[in-house]
């Protein structure tokens, strides 16, 4: 390979070949059966080889594998390929992979076209394999058509602010801020409320270490506040955001400050589900509270000084109802005011509830504790032990089906049936620190909870309750301003949507934006901290060198064609992304459009209005689209499969 060629990425590598004499390699992936079980890959390859440029056409079980990539690399050098087309899964997964492979072979990475024949062909056409094969053939044709018109592009490299803004001063935000500061990056931490710590500051003891939440938090807050690299703004909110990766500009109110930052970590946290009026008696009976209220009660520094009482009376029976506002099912549960169902599991509530239940049994041994659950989800390290411990301490578990939820109602003022065996004297108490068994059990609980218990052969049980605790889950927090300003995407459950749960779990779709903690999904403190650190790692990698390389899909101007009419300037929505400039050309002063690549977002508003086609988004040129459409409607008579 010619060395200078590899060094200058923009140099035309086509050696004077015309679009139709370019050497194009076409690779069709089986995706281990994901594609090849439906699409006849051999036929696709056959069709591709019939195209004028199909120099090398292959199919392979896993193009993304090391071997698959090497196949391309070897072909590029052996067969002197000019362009590469891979038909495989969605470009969101592997476009990058193959661009990198092409680059490793010494070619410009942008002389590559990716065709999606998995998500948009095989997976949505299982019952029509012939149709899917034909579709794949046409899409590959379109890919080749576009590939003919690809140009080598150079990534845009620019300076980045070695500064990160963390939005949200809860535990994950604090963790992220501290980690970033530790490696020497400047950090601005913006917190909406008056103090740092988020929900965690409200809690008493936390699983699985039984640490005091406030002690843990104090340690972290002290580190953050004492760190010279971190600037903290409380009672502050981002109200406007602009810029791009490496160079964001945030306007923060009410302090009227502007933060220039290279990356943003969103750690905006969650809200607790607010039960609807009448949901399990919430709002109807004062004895119905939520888990966080119970946590406050158990806190010696809380409103009851740690006493378990309701309306001034000791609580003899506590009934905790799991999954309130979580795991909702269409047709069974009532949608919330926003019309949405929370179909997800809130993940932390089971262990938190078991912890609280165990604490009640330990501190108030005469208080009966009931837990009405659907599934106990003590999944994490040290969590199952809470379930074990709560059981051992005598917490009574009943399991209800989603379609037969417990019913909370006021108790009838009557005496219970009593128990006969009480006339016998109490014996020596055993390990459990037994209290005398009383027949005159007063049935004076304020409420009763009725539940069809699947652990008791479907028996309808009646549970006395002085306190009904609704175990409410997490819901996405209201962050509309940020969502608007930063163009964040949310998943179906309303939480922020990462790019890919496994490949890029802490990255958001907008470059330079990262997500940490419970604004992404319910998680506990430990997991929030891990997510905070992971997001910090990504931000650190992004800003490590102080320079950022961007995809070159911007809209440059073909000066030969531009007539300087300025339609593009009118159309452009980004301030100063495109401007008209006057230059001397061939001794004449001419006006033409000029694009600022750092500000251009490549939306193509200008392209549509340009009368001469002078301004085009690189990588998405209109002639490329025209060619693709041509290819889609072209005749593939020899290779297309006829429908039976």
């Amino acid at each position: 390979m010619d060395k200078s060629q590899a060094q200058d990425p923009l140099r035309e590598a086509d050696n004077g070949a015309t679009a139709h004499t370019l050497r194009i390699g076409v690779y069709v992936c089986h995706c281990g059966g994901n594609i090849s079980d439906v699409v006849d890959v051999e036929r696709v390859v056959q069709a591709a080889s019939g195209l004028s440029n199909g120099v090398v056409t292959r199919h392979y079980p896993a193009m993304c594998s090391e071997t698959g990539q090497n196949l391309i690399i070897d072909d590029i050098s052996n067969e002197k390929l000019d362009r590469v087309v891979v038909a495989a899964c969605s470009p969101s997964l592997h476009e990058h992979t193959f661009r990198a492979a092409v680059a490793r072979a010494g070619k410009n990475a942008y002389l590559y076209e990716h065709v999606n024949i998995r998500e948009q062909v095989s997976w949505c056409g299982k019952s029509d394999p012939d149709g899917a094969t034909n579709k794949a053939i046409r899409l590959v044709g379109a890919g080749v058509a576009k590939a003919r018109l690809l140009r080598p592009l150079a990534p845009i490299s620019m300076d980045a602010k070695r500064h990160v803004t963390v939005v949200g001063g809860g535990v994950s935000g604090l963790r992220a801020a501290r980690d970033l500061a530790r490696i020497g990056l400047a950090v601005t931490l913006i917190e909406r409320s008056a103090s740092l710590g988020g929900h965690m500051a409200q809690w008493h003891l936390v699983y699985p270490t039984e640490d005091k939440a406030r002690d843990l938090l104090r340690e972290l807050v002290d580190e953050v506040i004492g760190d010279p690299n971190i600037t903290v703004h409380t009672r502050a909110e981002v109200i406007e955001a602009s810029g791009y990766v490496g160079n964001f500009l945030l306007r923060v109110e009410p302090e009227h400050i502007t933060v220039e930052t290279g990356a943003i970590v969103l750690a905006t946290g969650f809200d607790l589900y607010q039960p609807q009026e009448g949901e399990f008696g919430y709002g109807q009976y004062p004895e119905v509270i939520t888990l966080d209220q119970l946590e406050r009660m158990l806190d010696p520094e809380g409103p009851t000084s740690g006493r378990l009482e309701r309306n001034g009376r000791a609580v003899n029976n506590v009934c905790l109802i799991h999954c309130v506002g979580s795991r909702q099912i269409e047709g069974i549960h009532q949608p919330g005011p926003d019309g949405k169902l929370n179909e997800y599991c809130s993940r932390v509530c089971c262990t938190a509830t078991l912890r609280a239940a165990g604490e009640i049994r330990r501190r108030f041994p005469r208080t009966n504790v009931f837990e009405l659950y659907r599934d106990i989800r003590t999944y994490g390290r040290g969590h199952e032990e809470y379930y074990d411990e709560a059981s051992r301490l005598g917490v009574l578990f009943c399991r209800y089906e989603a379609d037969r939820p417990p019913v909370v109602s006021p108790a009838e003022p009557k005496k219970g049936p009593g128990l006969i065996c009480a006339k016998h004297p109490p014996g020596r108490s055993g390990k459990l620190n037994l209290v005398p068994f009383s027949a005159e059990e007063p049935d004076d609980s304020a409420l009763v909870v009725q539940v069809k218990d699947t652990l008791t052969f479907g028996e309808e049980l009646e549970i006395p309750a002085d306190l009904v605790v609704l175990v409410t889950g997490m819901v996405p927090r209201e962050i509309d301003t940020l969502v608007d300003q930063l163009k964040l995407s949310r998943s179906a459950d309303g939480f922020l949507q990462e790019v890919h749960p496994k490949l890029r779990p802490v990255e958001l779709a907008v470059n330079g934006l990262f997500v940490a903690g419970t604004c992404q999904a319910p998680m506990d403190i430990s997991e929030s901290c891990a997510a905070g650190s992971a997001a910090a790692a990504k931000a650190a990698a992004l800003l490590a060198s102080g320079r950022i390389e961007l995809d070159p899909f911007l809209a440059p101007v073909d000066l030969d064609v531009c007539r300087g009419e300025g339609k593009c300037v009118e159309a452009c929505q980004y301030q100063k992304a495109v401007t008209l400039v006057e230059v001397e050309r061939d001794g004449r002063k001419v006006r033409h459009a000029e694009v600022n690549s750092a500000l251009c977002n490549g939306c193509g508003m200008c392209t549509a209005v340009c009368p001469t086609g002078a301004i085009q988004v690189e990588g998405w040129r209109l002639d490329q689209f025209d060619a693709m459409v041509d290819a889609l409607v072209a005749d593939y008579a020899e290779t297309e499969v006829s429908h039976a």
């Binding site: 281990g32 535990v171 179909e343 997800y344 994490g380 969590h383 199952e384 479907g458």
Partner: protein, 441 residues
């Protein structure tokens, strides 16, 4: 004996997904990383899985790019088939003694063409396929292994010499010796992963002697595109199973089996496998016997509800015993808890044990601090710095610190990388900004 010396910023023990991610996150920050993997290929357990929950992405589509990225990253060096013998601290640095086991194949020469494998006459159960499939005495570990290099199983080799004859590049090296390497590193990330509990852990489950009672990882292979049979068949006689049972909490949440904790991933992988089986065997009845369904992660609950809607049967019951009938059909014995509590014996064509996750490695073997009582690496600050271990400067990621699913492992790997990076900054004043390539083979 050949001695090598390597100097690096971070030593990552374990080349599974957590180790790879931690290495990538460190390397992207400019640190030099050495990944040590004891298996002949990186990729860990993940590369052997079929598809992943809850997205049903093809697992190798997610794992192979990470493997390739690590392999090609200028800041990352990888040593496979290498064991860490000892790690000790020397001032601000860690000194690790590594031993690379002989493959009897020259890694630099081998092209992974597999001619030797075809020529070899000795057939053995393939460990990568959960012993279900066949491999030869010389073989490339699996189709997407990194590196794509063969290795010779000397213990089972009859030294006939065929492989040497057919190798086009003369890569067979019968006289290869273990190779010792000393690594100096600024920090260590432990990502040694997990093992599944052995199938013979419980006498009531047939002690691993029932041919149609499989471990879940074996079923992953049956479902994987290049699996041992190319489709889902049962091992006793190659029958297409019509009825498949999933036995949850097999070696988790069971003190009688010595494991009291929840293995965290089994519910979801069982549901996933059940869905995939529904896809490949549309007529099959699939029953999942569970104690609690733990679909706690993002999108998991919806996944579970979808599985229910697909007709997968969920039965709340702890399977007490598995026996077999004349045709080697497994029979599970349960209490039908949610109905009248009657005891039933249900016959299936195949039963899958959702085997629990147990520690894969004891840090004491290399001189690191003792693990927690559950056998996994101890975390000193599980709440606010979950990756720290009792050994300062040693961080943990993934299942080495307890069972975890892939997203959680990857996030934790990022966290471990962050901790390691901060530690390097604070302790060895590594600039780490310039991209420096380690040259080693």
């Amino acid at each position: 004996m050949h001695h090598d010396k390597i100097d690096t910023d971070a030593l990552v023990i374990g080349g599974g997904i957590a180790g790879l991610q931690a290495a990538l996150d460190l390397a992207d920050q400019g640190f030099r990383v050495l990944i040590v993997e004891k298996q002949p290929s990186i990729g860990g357990k993940m590369i052997g899985l079929s598809k992943v929950f809850p997205t049903l992405d093809c697992c190798s589509c997610i794992c192979t790019p990470r493997m390739a990225e690590a392999e090609h990253h200028p800041n990352i060096a990888i040593m496979t088939y290498t064991e860490v013998r000892h790690v000790r601290r020397e001032g601000d640095r860690f000194i690790a003694d590594l031993v690379k086991k002989p493959r009897y194949v020259d890694e630099d020469k081998c092209t992974g063409c597999r001619l030797c494998e075809y020529a070899c006459n000795t057939e053995l159960p393939h460990e990568f396929e959960g012993d279900l499939g066949v491999r030869k005495a010389i073989y490339v570990p699996f189709s997407n292994a990194v590196p794509q290099v063969a290795l010779l199983d000397l213990e089972n080799c009859i030294l006939c010499g065929r492989c040497e004859k057919v190798c086009p590049v003369g890569a067979i090296d019968f006289l290869q010796q273990p190779q010792e390497t000393v690594v100096r590193a600024g920090t260590v990330v432990v990502a040694t992963g997990y093992e599944t509990i052995r199938t013979d852990f419980k006498k009531e489950y047939g002690q691993g002697r029932l041919p149609n009672v499989l471990g879940a990882l074996q079923v992953e292979r049956l479902l994987a595109p290049h699996g041992p049979y190319g489709r889902v068949l049962r091992p006793s006689d190659g029958k297409v199973p019509d009825s498949i049972a999933y036995v949850q909490c097999a070696g988790s949440r069971d003190r009688s089996a010595g494991v009291s904790y929840c293995s965290r991933v089994c519910c979801m992988y069982a549901i996933k496998q059940a869905m995939l089986l529904c896809g490949t065997l549309p007529l099959a009845d699939i029953t999942i016997y569970y104690m609690d369904i733990r679909a706690f992660g993002k999108g998991f609950e919806q996944f579970y509800q979808n599985a229910k809607a697909m007709g997968i049967e969920f039965v709340k019951a702890k399977v007490a015993s598995i026996t077999e009938d004349q045709q080697q059909n497994p029979i599970v014995r349960i209490e039908v808890i949610e109905e009248d509590g009657r005891v039933e014996q249900r016959q299936h064509d195949m039963a899958v044990l959702s085997l629990g996750l147990v520690p894969g490695w004891d840090p004491r073997e290399v001189g690191l601090a003792a693990p927690a009582p559950d056998g996994f690496i101890r975390c000193t600050q599980p709440m606010i710095a979950p990756c720290r271990t009792p050994d300062e400067g040693v961080f943990v990621a993934g299942c080495a610190a307890g069972p975890k699913d892939i997203p959680d492992s990857i996030i934790e790997a990022g966290a471990a990388a962050m901790e390691a990076a901060a530690y390097l900054h604070e302790h060895t004043h590594v600039a780490g900004k310039e991209t420096t390539t380690t040259c080693m083979k």
